[in-house]
Amino acid sequence: MPVSMDRATARLDLAELYVVHRLSLVRLATLLVDDRATAEDVVQDVFAGLATRDGSLRDPDKALAYLRKAVVNRSRSALRRRRTARGYVPPRGVEAAGPDERAVLAEEHREILAALERLAPRQREVLLLRYWSGLSEAEIAAALGISRGSVKSTAGRALGRLEKIMESTQT
């Protein structure tokens, strides 16, 4: 029964993906939505979506790239829902993290993370995928569904703007 064997293999791969990559994906989602509970729900929903498809992917080797892309998309949706629910763009920043978490972060980290939150969503996503996930331009392009050239130009502009924000807050 080759079909059922393939499905069984896919399920096993999905379980392995869950064990191996869940934490890093939750961390990525946390950086995107800045709320651990929402981040965890985002990742859980992504795996649930994949499980609904019997864990099937056209190319299992690209499963992690698919998961990253799904996490970015669902995080974006979560932020959109949050803004809609509140009726305004909340002053997220690191203040959205719990008080214990805030206390742990060094002042220099808090400053640059707050500056990061002032970037456009696409700019923030590109920087997170590049400087935290360590993805190449091609991988970021695949995760965000944009071209490599756009990744490069967005990253350049995002860093420039980040630098300006940092300078303005330090003066």
């Binding site: 946390t30 609904t52 742990v104 969503p121 130009s153 350049g156 995002a158």
Partner: protein
């Protein structure tokens, strides 16, 4: 770009991410697939009833409609070109300003408002903006309607930001080889083309099929609407890259 800033960013992101540890995660197991709505008994009964009605009454009508939609003809909507519009031209997520002024196409980026990118339009009289469309370049392409404002094969052109400037997007394939021009193709990812009826189409290729000859393409069309281009899903088309210049509705012997 400042390496110090990049290092600072890496350290801050790592510090923030590491605040989430394995012990913090609430969900411990792989989620079970959610039951699909259409499998619930009540929904199944409704579906069965609806199917019976369709079979008894509407099948001939549906078949005729499908035959017509396979041809993907024009939507019948003639665009109304405008002289200015806003949209994300450079792909940074922010809205940029695009305008036609004195025979020039001018783009002012939100990220760099002090520097307006300019391109001289080859046929500057009576032209207008149709909208923005992803034609495979670094950002979005700016679709310009030609004289008379008609969105027709001979009357359109596309400009895009490249290398810091603004310029036309040229055909990526030889005109002699294609019956319908292809724009800014990204191999393995995106192909856009104008049909003989003047519709701008875009097809998303499955990266897993890269290098293959027979491709399955998710096709959308851009419908002009008050200075913007609205995407409409057309469906899954087939593309034999060896024999077909652009994707087309699958024939009986082609499979997705």
């Amino acid at each position: 770009m400042s390496t110090a800033l990049e290092n600072q960013l890496v350290a801050a992101l790592r510090a923030r991410a590491e605040l989430v540890g394995p012990e913090d995660l609430q969900h411990l197991t792989l989620p079970l697939p959610a039951p699909q709505r259409w499998r619930r008994p009540a929904v199944m009964a409704l579906v069965a009833a609806a199917a019976a009605v369709v079979v008894a009454v509407a099948v001939p009508l549906v078949l005729k409609a499908e035959q017509r939609s396979d041809r993907a003809g024009p939507t019948g909507s003639i665009p109304t070109p405008v002289t200015a519009l806003t949209g994300d031209v450079d792909g940074d997520g922010e809205s940029d300003r695009v305008e036609i002024l004195h025979g020039q196409l001018r783009v002012t980026l939100a990220a760099d408002p002090s520097h307006t990118r300019v391109a001289n339009l080859s046929n500057s009289s009576d032209v207008g903006l149709v909208g923005l469309a992803d034609v495979g370049g670094p950002g979005q392409g700016i679709v310009v309607a030609g004289p008379g404002g008609r969105f027709a094969r001979t009357g359109w052109s596309v400009y895009a930001l490249r290398d810091g400037g603004l310029g036309p997007v040229y055909l990526s394939a030889s005109r002699a080889q294609v019956q319908e021009p292809t724009l800014g193709q990204i191999p393995g990812r995106l192909v856009s083309w104008i049909t003989t009826t003047g519709e701008l189409m875009s097809g998303l290729l499955d990266p897993a099929q890269q290098g293959e000859q027979q491709l399955s393409v998710t096709v959308r069309r851009y419908v002009p609407l008050r200075g913007r281009l609205r995407q409409e899903r057309v469906g899954q088309w087939c593309w034999d890259t060896a024999t077909q210049p652009v994707p087309a509705p699958c024939t009986g012997d082609q499979v997705h």
